[in-house]
């Protein structure tokens, strides 16, 4: 018995010991297979294999960003405060007829813009992740989705930094968030997945056609005004319909509901938006995998 156990151990041991990349890769016009595995299976396997790389890429982006700057992380909060200052002025001087909000306008808009910038930052960074990596993408063979996912690190970090002025303003305005706000991190997941799913597709598109990044910048500027970030959700036609079709509205709305009242005003819309983000993430990821190697030829 002992001998058999020993033999078995000996047979298993060498396989476990060196954690090396699997052997036997086949490249055909239809795609890649590793150890006879393709499709979704290899996607999940390579994702887990590259988790450390993703983490290192995030750390790299965060640590590099402000290395040669004096004000450093202050730059993360400047655009947010500037935008809110302008809108708070327009709001208080009654130049723009902005409807009433549940919490003081300055707190409402500051929170809204922080969430929006998380989404916009993730999306922009993901879309540019492949083009900005230069020859790394075209010369080295590694799971490229690591670059796209790794691009989330810096906007996520900026979001955390931006929470400091948010907290300061909440205290200043005397707003006490509801206890349900502790579920906020869960709410961030669909927002990030939505950005990532779109980012997968746009990063590929940007490799083929460089107009994508420019178009995205304009689309995000327009998108910010079409999403109830700086004003409460519209109730009048036609803005109501736009708001209804915008998957980001219920997600942002839910975060504002959570802070203000502690309950969701549109739970069914929120659920639909969550499902939509999940679908977009997996769809975008799959599309990315199918096309990346093909597109590198055109990059």
């Amino acid at each position: 018995m002992d001998e058999i156990a020993q033999l078995r151990r000996a047979a298993i041991a060498p396989e476990i010991e060196p954690r090396r990349r699997p052997m036997d890769v086949v490249y055909t016009p239809r795609g890649v297979q590793r150890d006879g595995v393709g499709g979704w299976q290899i996607m999940f396997r390579e994702l887990t294999e590259s988790s450390r790389l993703i983490w290192l890429l995030m750390l790299r982006d965060i640590s590099v960003r402000y290395r040669q700057s004096i004000l450093g992380y202050i730059w993360a909060v400047v655009p947010q405060i500037a935008t809110v200052a302008v809108f708070a002025f327009l709001h208080s001087s009654q130049v723009l007829p902005i409807g009433g909000t549940k919490i003081p306008y300055i707190a409402y808009s500051l929170w809204g813009i922080s969430m929006w910038q998380l989404f916009a930052g993730c999306l922009t960074n993901c879309a540019n992740s492949l083009t900005s990596s230069g020859s790394l993408v075209t010369k080295i063979n590694f799971p490229r989705e690591a670059l796209v996912i790794g691009a989330l690190g810096q906007p996520a970090f900026d979001f955390v930094v931006r929470l400091i002025p948010v907290v300061a303003v909440f205290i200043w305005c005397g707003v006490v968030p509801s206890w349900q706000s502790m579920f906020m991190p869960l709410l961030l997941v669909p927002i990030v997945l939505l950005a990532l799913g779109l980012g997968f597709v746009l990063s590929i598109a940007n490799l083929v056609i460089r107009d994508t990044a420019n178009a995205l910048g304009i689309a995000l500027t327009i998108g910010m005004f079409l999403t109830p970030v700086l004003y409460p959700p519209p109730v009048r036609w036609p803005f109501y319909l736009i708001n209804l079709l915008n998957p980001l509205s219920p997600l942002l709305g839910a975060s504002q509901d959570l802070v203000a009242g502690g309950f969701l005003t549109q739970p069914e819309m929120f659920a639909a938006a969550c499902i939509f983000s999940m679908g977009l993430f997996f769809g975008g990821w799959r599309a990315f995998r199918i096309t990346i190697l093909r597109v590198l030829g055109y990059a």
């Binding site: 055909t28 290395r67 790394l136 075209t138 093909r294 055109y298």
Partner: protein
Amino acid sequence: MSADTIICIDGVSKKFCRSLRRTMLYGVRDVACDMLGMTRHLSCLRRDEFWAINDASFEVKRGECVGLIGPNGAGKSTLLKLINGVTLPDQGSLRIFGRIGALLELGAGFHPMLTGRENIHLSGAILGLGKYEIAKKFDSIVDFSGLEEFIDTPVKQYSSGMYVRLGFAVAVSIDPDILIIDESMAVGDAAFRKRCLDQINAFIQAGKTIIVVTHNLQEIEKIAQRMLLLDHGIVRADGRPAEVIASYMNLLNTRILLREEFGSATGEPAIEITQMELRGGDGPPKSYFRSHDELRVIIGFKAHRSIVNPVFRVQIFRSDGLFCHGMNTERHGVECGEILGDGKIILRYPDLCLLGGDYWIRAAVLSSQYDELPIHQMATSIGIHVESEMIDGAGVFAMPCEWITAA
């Protein structure tokens, strides 16, 4: 496919597009087809497309060192990219059994703002090394690159040589089964080049498979056991280095000649070289010689019209293109007189003082030795292999010399 095959390339083709606009158009169309799962017509060329690799099939065995040569734009780098898996073939399949280490572009994963230390960790992770593997190899990587002093300096302040040294050190640290090298060792100083070559030799000793693309034929001939000649995406020759280099030289020679003929734009030449062969003394033609053998270059010609005093020229080049020796009839004061019809002329080297190596010889006929364009030149050159003894010395020529020891 045998058991020790490590790379199996089967009917692989890859196309590229010359125009950037069409590249974008085709790119969008192909990506859309891929997403929708539609079949694309991969086997036919659309407008402005060409085959960068055309139906290449070969196998590489474990432990082989293969040199990949060919003129610029032959598809060498594309083939390496396909093997490395950074681009997919349009036809055929590639099968790779092992971890690939690619020296395609050294330091490609480096971020200029990060220090050398941070970059080692990051690009190690990109190349697939785990946390502990990197930690274990960190010291040897730094040691190999010779950059201990600068390891905490941002790499953007590195010189290009230092950058490449660090890149090479990281790339070889992943201990690949297959190493593919693309001309990347051209940078770096002589000491580092030597270290790179030593490292490659160590890989060969360890039974690793290596594929090298290079234009330095002299260097590659020393390490490669087998060579592939690629031209216009087609594998033209596959075999022993000396043979493949000879066919490469013929290919290049033909190219040069074609250009010369276009340049001269004359009709049928008055005199043509019809045949060339090498003999040692009176024996049969041969291509294998030893230093200090007798060598006769026999040139057969045919004059279509009467021609007075043409000049015959013989040139010897080393396999890497070094011009070793040239001689023509005018230099020797030999007058050929009036020539018509077939004839023969022989250049005799009584003591061939070339040292061991591969050379190629070509012959031409000119109207004067200062002619830019020969009247005619053989399209093919003849390869010659020379062996020499230890006592003949090293370099290009076996020159008579002696030591005088001062008492």
